[in-house]
Symmetry: C2
Subunit: 710 residues, 2 copies
């Protein structure tokens, strides 16, 4: 997981459950033998198959998967990463539990590594340059795994090499506001080394912001307050608790965009034009290096930072496996996770891959036995080089752009599957809410509460829906994992599923050993999910959603659930109307467009209901499903954010403006509010962004209206 928005992790509270856990919450009528696979056009979701799937997803097998996956560090393109490619291939080609076919695609991509001969250094020096103190070059070997020769030393991937030296200035989180504040206080920033802590803004942004003030180099440390609920002593931290040891250092990519840096919009295949790395954009402008809090607390005065990172072209593999659809093989339900980690990566990403392998095993077994074949095709994916910037998944979407745009029904991402044992957490676009709810209602939550996953979820994350009343609240999709190119670049309905923690019990920014050498199997086994029941719960939820999407006659996507989002964005926009009206910008067309969407979605759902009562012919069903599948695409606009690489979704592109409305509108409004007096064209941009949103909503409504209406 590259960047985390909703957090996970609670210790101890989860009851350890038996491995052969009884699934007690199914509302599925038990029946006789599973039916033979049928290729009839009316083939629909078979509740008995769904039940079988739920029963056979095995927590212990997930645990064994995780042990194997996290046994050794498997940094992208490392020998162990390549060995895992073979492991995945072997599993997916297994004659008894494999898929119809599996293969790899290799991309030659630009990664960034520390220099093996010349380690990065952070030294405190005196005025003559003599070294008074040196930061650690690696984490302390606490449990054995940290001493593995394949542990990559802490570094900031894509940070440029350089050896800046200067007085140390504490710059909080390294946000624009933080540096402005220092400037206001007349702290000298020119040629300084800024010490920042993780959080608040993206990794790369700390260097970008610092460089604007003449800062020469940046350090980033993990603050115990942000990650350990304040705990910082060795005996309070791993292996004594889930907390991060003092020597732990969060690695990460400092690349601003995603995808291979040298081949934006083109697959990083041998034939593709590559930018010269001097011309690539999105790298930090100045050297930057992460350190642990053990070192951070002793730093003072003059600091010398030596960064010797090197850019290297490497071959990174995706592994893809497919189960051919019986009825609509040209409709794809995609399910994926990345394979590469920073170190052993037990939590990130192996908790996800362990679930992926168990899910593909159970489905593969049903397939090979002849018990089942899905209505639509299922594509399993193990992405390479995610940690460097979602590279494998992005290159995949670039290479298969047309095919995916034509045929992809949805993308399910399960990266870190378990942050902690408290509750389900799902991020996704509104149309996936209903299918996730259906699944979550059908599965028991881990622990002894007796609640369904749904009823448990609603206790932790909920909102009041004008339509449904109190429901669990879905998070939105940023760019934290491989779903980003699917939703932002391709407009494919996407989701990310995990189990996470109770926010009342910890304020950790993310699970404490994130991207460190302490993220190991024992860490998961002892602290995150003893008994692996949360893993099993995620496997069941994701598997349930996957089967519903692949097998239901009508796609279980509810387009009407977009109406709530549009309403809330519209209401937020209406708070801007005073200033908008002063600049002759009317929200009237937006109101009309939202109403048209709502009306079209409601009528559309009624048409589905009517069809479901009768016996619709295969093409009537297909037409409806095409509308359901393609709705998300209608929200893309090539004109909205031409300067934002890949982002084109007018609802979910990054929002920097403070008003929670359509991002293009919010950002342009905030710009105009700040600069509009000097630059009247800033208000033109507000009007332009508003028009783009209106045109997209009108297009979305048009897609939902009866197909022979023009």
């Amino acid at each position: 997981m590259q960047w985390v928005k909703v957090l996970g992790g609670v210790v101890g509270a989860a009851a350890v459950l038996g491995l052969g856990i009884i699934v007690g919450h199914f509302a599925i009528p038990k029946g006789a033998d599973s039916p033979a696979p049928s290729a009839s056009a009316s083939q629909d979701l078979d509740m008995k198959i769904l039940e079988t799937l739920m029963e056979q997803l095995d927590a212990n097998r997930i645990r064994e998967n995780l042990r194997e996956l996290s046994k050794e560090p498997h940094l992208a393109t490392s020998p162990r990463d390549e060995a895992l490619v073979q492991l995945l291939l072997q599993r997916w080609q297994d004659p008894e539990s494999g898929l119809d076919s599996a293969g790899t695609t290799e991309y030659e991509v630009l990664l960034s590594f520390p220099n093996g001969e010349q380690p990065n250094r952070v030294d405190v020096v005196n005025s003559t340059g003599a070294i008074l103190f040196s930061c650690r070059h690696s984490e302390e070997n606490v449990t054995g795994e940290q001493g593995d020769p394949n542990v990559v030393p802490p570094y900031a991937a894509y940070a440029p090499p350089g050896t800046p030296q200067g007085p140390l200035v504490y710059a909080n989180q390294g946000s624009e506001e933080d540096f402005k504040e220092l400037q206001r206080k007349e702290v000298k920033l020119q040629d300084s080394i800024a010490l920042t802590r993780y959080g608040g803004v993206g990794r790369g942004a700390k260097a970008v912001n610092a460089a604007k003030y003449g800062v020469a180099g940046v350090l980033v440390y993990t603050d115990p307050k942000d990650i350990n609920d304040g705990k910082s002593l060795p005996n309070e931290t791993f292996p004594h608790s889930w907390c991060l040891p003092p020597s732990g250092v969060e690695r990460g990519s400092y690349f601003e965009y995603f995808g291979d840096p040298l081949t934006p919009y083109l697959p990083a295949r041998p034939y593709s034009f590559r930018l010269n790395s001097d011309n690539a954009s999105g790298f930090p402008p100045i050297p930057i290096q992460p350190i642990g809090f053990e070192d951070a607390q002793v730093l003072l005065c003059q600091v010398n930072v030596s960064v010797h990172n090197r850019l290297e072209l490497r071959n990174s593999s995706n592994v893809l496996g497919i189960i051919r659809g019986a009825v609509e093989p040209d409709r794809y339900v995609l399910y994926g996770n990345h394979r590469d980690s920073w170190v052993h990566g037990a939590v990130d990403p192996s908790t996800g891959t362990a679930v992926l392998l168990e899910l593909s095993r159970v489905l593969g077994t049903l397939l090979k036995k002849g018990t089942w074949r899905p209505r639509r095709s299922i594509v399993f994916a193990s992405w390479g080089a995610e940690e460097f910037g979602l590279i494998g998944s992005t290159e995949f979407t670039e290479e298969f752009f047309s095919k995916l745009q034509e045929r992809a029904v949805a993308y399910i991402n399960v990266d870190i599957s378990v942050f902690a044992n408290a509750t389900l957490r799902v991020q996704g676009t509104p149309p996936i809410q209903s299918v996730v709810f259906s699944a979550a209602k059908q599965i028991s939550a881990p622990g002894s509460s007796g609640l369904s996953i749904y009823d448990n979820w609603i206790r932790y994350y909920n909102r009041s829906s004008p339509v449904y009343g109190l429901v669990p609240s879905l998070g939105t999709l940023g760019a934290g994992s491989d779903y980003a190119p699917f939703i932002h670049f391709l407009g494919i309905s996407s989701m990310d599923i995990a189990y996470t923690y109770d926010r009342s019990k910890t304020s950790a920014r993310i699970y404490p050993t994130y991207h460190t050498a302490f993220d190991t199997f024992d860490y998961v086994d002892k602290f995150l999910d003893p008994g692996f029941s949360s893993h099993q719960a995620v496997a069941r939820t994701a598997g349930n959603v996957l089967l519903r999407l692949s097998d239901s006659l009508f796609l279980p996507l509810n387009v009407s659930d977009y109406s709530e989002t549009l309403r809330s964005f519209l209401q937020a926009a209406e708070n801007l109307s005073v200033l908008l009206e002063q600049h002759n910008i009317s929200l009237g067309p937006l109101v009309t467009a939202v109403e048209k969407f709502e009306g079209a979605a409601t009528s559309f759902n009624q048409r589905i209901a009517t069809l479901q009562e009768g016996t619709p012919n295969p093409l009537q069903v297909r037409m409806i499903n095409d509308q359901l599948m393609l709705l998300e695409r209608t929200f893309l606009s090539s004109q909205a954010f031409p300067e934002e690489r890949y982002y084109s979704h007018v609802l979910w592109a990054p929002r920097t403006g403070s008003v929670a409305t359509f991002p293009g509108l919010s950002n342009a409004y905030s710009q105009a509010e700040n600069t509009g007096h000097d630059r009247p064209t800033a208000w033109d941009e507000v009007q332009r962004q508003l028009s783009i949103v209106v045109a997209a909503l009108e297009g979305a409504a048009a897609t939902l209206r009866p197909v022979a209406d023009l």
Copy 2:
């Protein structure tokens, strides 16, 4: 028709045929009564219906349509243009011969008109400014129609107002090369008035090129050599022949792009952001005015040009009519033409609209009688404001972008349907070749030859195909009419169909009265197509193609026919390999991609053949048809030509480079060849364009491969 690439017109040679002409070339088995409309998923093309359509398309009705349509001038948005909107609506809503539904969409668009109070002038003046001679302000009233008060005076739409004065310089066609040549000859261009003739380069380009050399104003005249095969005397010209009278002036749009100038990429609806017209681009940089050859021959010395054109926001309507598909209502076959003319517009565009109305009448009658309903939906369109820059059709594609991208099977354009009586002429993308050939083989050519349209066609335009041997040659689609936004912006397989002339008999650049006040009903009735048999031939061809596209179980598009284009582009590229290799650019990946496409297309056609032998289920047919429909989309790239408004098709975007290969590659190569020594990044652009083509071809091949292959 805005800009003409393939020319039409031959006089006298066509035999006048009886109106109830017998169609003798059908290979259709005659049968009993037409079957009742069926909504079975296997509904296929009914040859009896096709035969009925061919028989009922009536030359005399087309003639009467044309008389009505061209009775009065109907410049875009004029009262008569609006009256024709009502005429179309009335026809398409007729209870006995109308469509399922019809309606209008209005766009508020920026047009350009002469100033009613202050006519544009071209005067020869002496050194004191006294007027020695004035050009005509309007054409001579030769047949009565030219005296109609609604005739718009000759002008260059979108030319800026201004009153430049200076010595006259003859600048041939006003191409870049022409001005360079004058400069070489040390002719003083600064502050001069350039006299240019139509042809060679686009209208607006003459002003753009002139302005670069300091020219103050431009005149454009129609040379009798280019348009009248040299004839220039009044008694040699209309109404005595089809030739242009001396006073005739070609009007036209001088806008460089297409679509509404103020709302690029957005529909020109009330809610859309509009550029300030000062910020709009694509208008001629200096005043320019068209004149007749009568005036051009007496011009000399000092000339004063007064242009008083005004930009005006006007409401322009499209009229749309739809026949709902019985089986796949969500698949659209579009058939359209523009409605607006410069003056009476008998040829341009009313010959096309007269055919459109006859075709919709016959199909509407079959529909209303309950004899027939197409498998797919048919959308008829009458576009507004085409003459100003394909505005109505472009705004339509902007407004319904998503829906059309998802569902449009093909676009058939019939603008000027008859240039002359010699032969069919079709421009289109390769997949439409086979359906056009099928239609053309089935219909008798006008005249007494006894040949089919196909066999007649091959006598005039042919090529040797490596696959088929000697076949009629299809032209390519530029941006001459409303097909442009469909093919270039949306990637919809498109075609333009017309009857045209024998090039051995005339070298006229286009039919002589093009865009003048002499383009009248009598002109068509007496000279272009007496008896209207060529109109009928076009109606039959276009109707035949339309019915095959709307009714065939498998879409009659042959994707394999793209292979010949790719091969020929590849061969042309291989001629560049010496210089490419010097810059380390290999064509290997392009060779591989072309081979992959060929292989995928061949296998795909084999799969169709196999399916056709059996009894494919409805979803198997739909899958194949989706691949056929969407192939054209895969050739679009948002990254290929970011500076070329709307153009995104990597095969058919405008090519300025001299090598007949992929336009992006050709253009970049030509740039690099000229500037590469000074600017090594020019070769990077060649490599980038090559990668874009390879990625598009790989994507196209992927779309054609078996759908469950990844």
